[in-house]
């Protein structure tokens, strides 16, 4: 490696190679080379800006001029697909220039033999994911493998930083730093709202991390898709626009059609296929499909064989699809930043504008899309500030550290504090986590004999039972999958994909649902696999397995409320303007400084809709608080559903007077009480308990029969609440819920800006604005007197019908 004052020059072989292809080294690629010696550096470049190559150029140059053995560069990306894609792309310059560089990827999909060999004889460049890295650091031979590591490249760091995966990765970096001191860190990010904050996350121990900004290129060309038919009042999926979307697909070389959920992508793909009379090659790609199916689509895509791919967030990140010239977003983008990043997928030629079309699924989303377009044009990106490093991830980190061998608590504490998000971690909080890992951390002394970690006479900590390492490794990771079951065609061994266990539980033999674009018939459950057969049915029972669900950002919500305040809506199509006008006529349009409450009967139950525009999480919390007050008032609430803009509650009795329900006095006190026993809290607890290693993931190999072996984590939550309310996991759950799922701040903000100025409108039927709520997924049941009565009634009816009334 020729380094001149920390600068890596480009070897002539590289200049020749670039020249032979008629390429130029972009200025930001040049600068990445010039500043290759920086201990930490973050590059922000739009998709298609040669960002990944910019990250790898210093590595390639160093290895070309100074060949060596062993691991030189570790590349980490949030997606498995990205790792294998990057490998293919790197192999081109490496083989064409004849560089002595070995590149391999390592993900959950890599074979066991290959993984073993990689530990003994690592490649020069290893491409992996945060979870695979955590697993690698858990092995006793990790120090040998990582000893010569010189650079770490974190790709799509903006995406990782949004979740606990980012926290786990940064903790992993602190481990790598201990094994390979002086390691250089490089972050690659798409456009974000606050680059220095992102850079601070990846810097070591508060050291600076300069930000390098590439030319953002021309503004994207975004427009709404014009359609013959207006979007429906409610519902999702964008079926009404299929003809126009197909026409766009025909007009372009390759189109990516993004959906917000997997189920919507499935349904849309099914209808697109029915309408596809020209037999255009169109594929589908989302996280519930089997790996084989995803691989096939990715391959066909790279080879330019597909004209369009219907996809979800699984294609969100920087995989290089080559010739995509149009991105279609079906459904509201929910978040301006994500919209811009998705749009960046089109037109990968640098300095050519990306082209995108928005297709709102219903009329409310149309309003959202128009607001998002305006925000994108104004370069008004949105984002939420991050909290401190989560303690459940730290607990898992301690367990992973213990798997790698005995450790000193003081050293580990210092290491953890060197991570940006954990810089403010107190020794007491660290000790709590260590105590939790060792003994469970219960007020009642227990497990004296069966501690998980024990302190040896020399003061080092180690696993009591070395066999525990295996179980800890199997539970590494922070991604909260709901439990899923594989779906297989009966008789044929090939898996079609996965559905959520809760969805499978609702199926009876003969039911049909969509998966991988085909309609299948449910035959039965065999050893935790859903067995299906092909079905000739035209209409499936809706697939309700969930995909990622996004929340509309605060900024977008404000823009929408501002639009509602207009006298007329020239920016909106006539049908949507008419829809808003109708809402104004039969009820009101929500505004910044008043609360709109609508009551109407539906399906034999009393429904009440509270428009707070406080975001999905806050509206959910509001749902919990309001239903609690309704329970006390004897209104027998049965359940509610929350969206970004409203909470819809249904129950046996009608709400006559909403003011006392919304009275802010005692709301927060009520919150503490109520929160501890509710479903949202239990869901948060389940996540924290799984990450912290209290409960194990339901791995396929550990639940052969789904029998009595497993019990609900809700029981553990109830036990702690009753006997040990100050336990570490309860504190983690509460802190997390208050910040994220509870988002109480936005409720207070909503109550303050409206000051209980309530417009209660009683209607005979659902209002235009409330209609979409009826089809929302994610309904939260309220376990109370109302439900008890319903269950008892239903049971009595069934008994009578069965002629067993006298039993």
């Amino acid at each position: 490696m020729r380094q001149l004052g920390g600068m890596t020059t480009l070897p002539s072989a590289f200049s020749d190679w670039f020249a032979a292809r008629g390429w130029q080294v972009h200025p930001h690629q040049r600068e990445m080379l010039d500043r290759a010696g920086e201990p930490a550096l973050m590059l922000i470049a739009p998709t298609g800006g040669g960002k990944t190559l910019a990250g790898f150029l210093p590595t390639l140059a160093e290895l070309a001029t100074e060949p060596r053995e062993g691991l030189h560069t570790l590349y980490i990306s949030p997606l498995k697909a990205l790792a294998s894609d990057i490998r293919r792309n790197l192999l081109v310059p490496i083989s064409e220039m004849g560089l002595p560089i070995r590149v391999e990827d390592r993900t959950g999909d890599t074979s066991a033999t290959r993984k073993k060999r990689q530990r003994v004889d690592p490649p020069h460049i290893l491409l992996t994911t945060p979870e695979s890295l955590a697993l690698l650091t858990s092995y006793e031979d990790a120090p040998r493998m990582f000893a010569g590591l010189s650079r770490v490249i974190i790709d799509e760091i903006h995406a990782l930083a949004e979740s606990k995966r980012g926290d786990q990765l940064m903790l992993g970096l602190s481990r790598l730093e201990a094994m390979a001191p002086g390691l250089r860190r490089v972050g690659l990010s798409a456009t974000v709202e606050d680059p220095p904050a992102l850079a601070a996350l990846m810097a070591r121990g508060g050291a600076p991390c300069p930000v390098l900004q590439a030319d953002p290129g021309p503004d994207p060309d975004i427009a709404m898709l014009r359609t013959e038919a207006p979007p429906p009042w409610s519902g999702g999926g964008g079926r009404y626009a299929i003809e126009e979307i197909l026409a766009e697909v025909k007009r372009h070389r390759t189109t990516l059609i993004f959906h917000n959920t997997r189920a919507q992508a499935e349904i849309f793909f099914h209808h697109l296929w029915l309408a596809n009379t020209d037999d255009l090659p169109i594929g589908i790609h989302h996280g519930s499909l089997s790996r084989e199916q995803r691989d096939a689509v990715e391959k066909a895509m790279t080879e330019g064989q597909l004209r369009a791919v219907v996809c979800t967030g699984s294609l969100d990140l920087g995989i290089d699809w080559g010739d995509v010239d149009l991105v279609i977003q079906v459904g509201a983008p929910k978040n301006v930043k994500r919209l811009i990043q998705r749009i960046g997928r089109a037109n990968h030629r640098y300095n050519a504008p990306s082209k995108a079309l928005l297709v709102p699924a219903n009329r409310f989303e149309l309003v959202e899309c128009v607001a998002a377009l305006e925000a994108a044009k104004a370069h008004d990106l949105d984002g939420d500030p991050r909290g401190a490093g989560p303690l459940d991830v730290l607990c898992q980190h301690i367990l992973i550290r213990a798997c790698a061998g005995p450790f000193d608590e003081g050293e580990l504490f210092q290491e953890v504090r060197s991570v940006g998000a954990y810089a403010g971690l107190s020794r007491a909080a660290f000790d709590d986590c260590l105590e939790f890992c060792a003994t469970g951390g219960y007020a009642l002394r227990a497990y004296d004999r069966w501690q998980r970690l024990i302190k040896r006479p020399d003061g080092l900590w180690q696993l009591r039972d070395p066999r525990a390492a295996q179980r800890i490794r199997m539970n590494i990771g922070t991604i909260q999958d709901t439990d899923t079951l594989k779906v297989r065609l009966r008789g044929a061994g090939k898996p079609l994909g996965e559905v959520e266990e809760s969805f499978a539980a609702t199926l009876s033999t003969g039911d049909t649902f969509l998966i991988g674009g085909q309609i299948v018939r449910y035959e039965g459950l065999k050893e935790m696999t859903v067995e299906v057969s092909r079905s000739a049915a035209k209409k499936p029972r809706v697939a309700v397995f969930q995909g990622t669900k996004f929340s509309t950002s605060t900024q977008l919500s404000s823009r929408i409320l501002r639009m509602f305040g207009q006298e007329t809506w020239p920016a909106l199509p006539d049908h949507t303007a008419a829809w808003l006008a109708l809402q104004r006529e039969v009820s009101h349009l929500p505004s910044h400084d008043r609360v709109l409450v609508e009551s109407f009967p539906h399906d034999g139950l009393a429904h009440t809709c509270f428009y707070g525009f406080a975001g999905r999480n806050a509206q959910q919390t509001l749902g919990l608080l309001l239903t609690r007050r309704m329970e006390t008032a004897g209104l027998n609430p049965l359940g509610f559903v929350a969206t970004d803009y409203a909470t819809l509650i249904w129950g046996l009795n009608e709400v006559q007077e909403p003011a006392p329900l919304l009275h802010d006095k005692g709301l927060r006190e009520g919150l503490d009480d109520w929160l501890k026993g509710n479903a949202v809290m239990k869901r948060t607890f389940r996540g924290a308990a799984t990450i912290a290693g209290l409960i194990e993931r339901n791995l396929p190999q550990t639940r052969k029969s789904g029998r009595q072996a497993t019990f609900s984590s809700d029981i553990l939550h109830d036990m702690l609440r009753k006997y040990d309310p100050d336990h570490l996991l309860m504190r983690i759950t509460e802190a997390e819920a208050m910040r994220g799922l509870v988002d109480f701040g936005r409720i207070e903000e909503f109550l303050a800006r409206t000051e209980r100025r309530i417009d209660h409108v009683r209607l005979e039927r659902v209002s235009p604005l409330a209609a979409p709520m009826l089809l929302e997924v994610g309904k939260v049941p309220i376990v109370g007197e109302g439900r008890e009565r319903l269950v008892a009634q239903e049971a009595a009816t069934l008994m009578a019908e069965a002629g067993l009334g006298d039993l």
């Binding site: 227990a446 553990l716 008994m799 067993l804």
Partner: protein, 214 residues
């Protein structure tokens, strides 16, 4: 407390919302699958360290049921302990508590597949028990008449929620698991179709005992 009263082979029985079975004619209370010491067993095997409060929670519920029914006999229908070693894990407080519950009552431990050997905690230990014209055993036997068993931890789904449930037909009764750290097996599992003839009833547990057809 809303209980479900019914008869099995001419013996009057009451299914309590807690999952316990009351046999009023014998002043007896029957509970199945307590799985005491489960958290200890999981820890011993290198798993997670679960909140160690399940034994006191289970005993508290059992005590409440004993007092409410004024039971003179208590039948623990097998799998009372998660395994034989789990008996040692009971704390001193729990041992004393159990002894207090046993004082002045006939206490029977039925053998389960998790705890086949004799236990050291007082009471008598039996493979099966004949009482009130019924036979009490841990695992149901094909073709048995007038049988009360446990083992399968049945649960039943109604109105969108699954709850632990009693299952019975004209000749047998299967009890839900009473222990705090226990999961369940759905009443739609084929094993129950083999064991129970129509018409069969599920009695949901919870705040009240709710009967419904299976």
């Amino acid at each position: 407390m809303t209980v479900h009263a019914f008869t099995l082979c001419d013996t009057a029985l009451r299914a309590l919302p807690s999952g316990a079975l009351h046999i009023p004619g014998e002043a007896a209370l029957c509970v199945s699958d307590l799985h005491l010491g489960k958290s200890d067993r999981i820890a011993r095997r290198g798993g997670g360290l679960l909140p160690p409060y399940e034994a006191r929670e289970t005993l508290a519920r059992l005590e409440a049921d004993i007092l409410a029914t004024d039971a003179r006999q208590v039948i623990c229908l097998g799998d009372s302990f998660d395994d034989l070693a789990s008996q040692d894990s009971l704390g001193e407080a729990e041992r004393l508590w159990l002894a207090r519950l046993q004082a002045g009552r006939r206490w029977i431990w039925i053998e389960g597949n998790h705890d086949p050997g004799p236990v050291e905690l007082g009471g008598s230990h039996l493979a099966e028990l004949h009482l009130a014209g019924l036979i009490f055993r841990h695992i149901a036997v094909a073709g048995a008449i007038g049988e009360v068993s446990g083992h399968y931890h049945p649960k039943h789904r109604l109105g969108g929620t699954a709850r632990a449930a009693f299952l019975y037909d004209r000749s047998r009764l299967i009890l839900p698991a009473y222990g705090t750290y226990t999961g369940g097996l759905s009443s739609t599992d084929p094993i129950f179709a083999e064991l129970l003839k129509r018409p069969a009833i599920a009695v949901l547990t919870g705040t009240r005992a709710i009967p419904t057809p299976v």
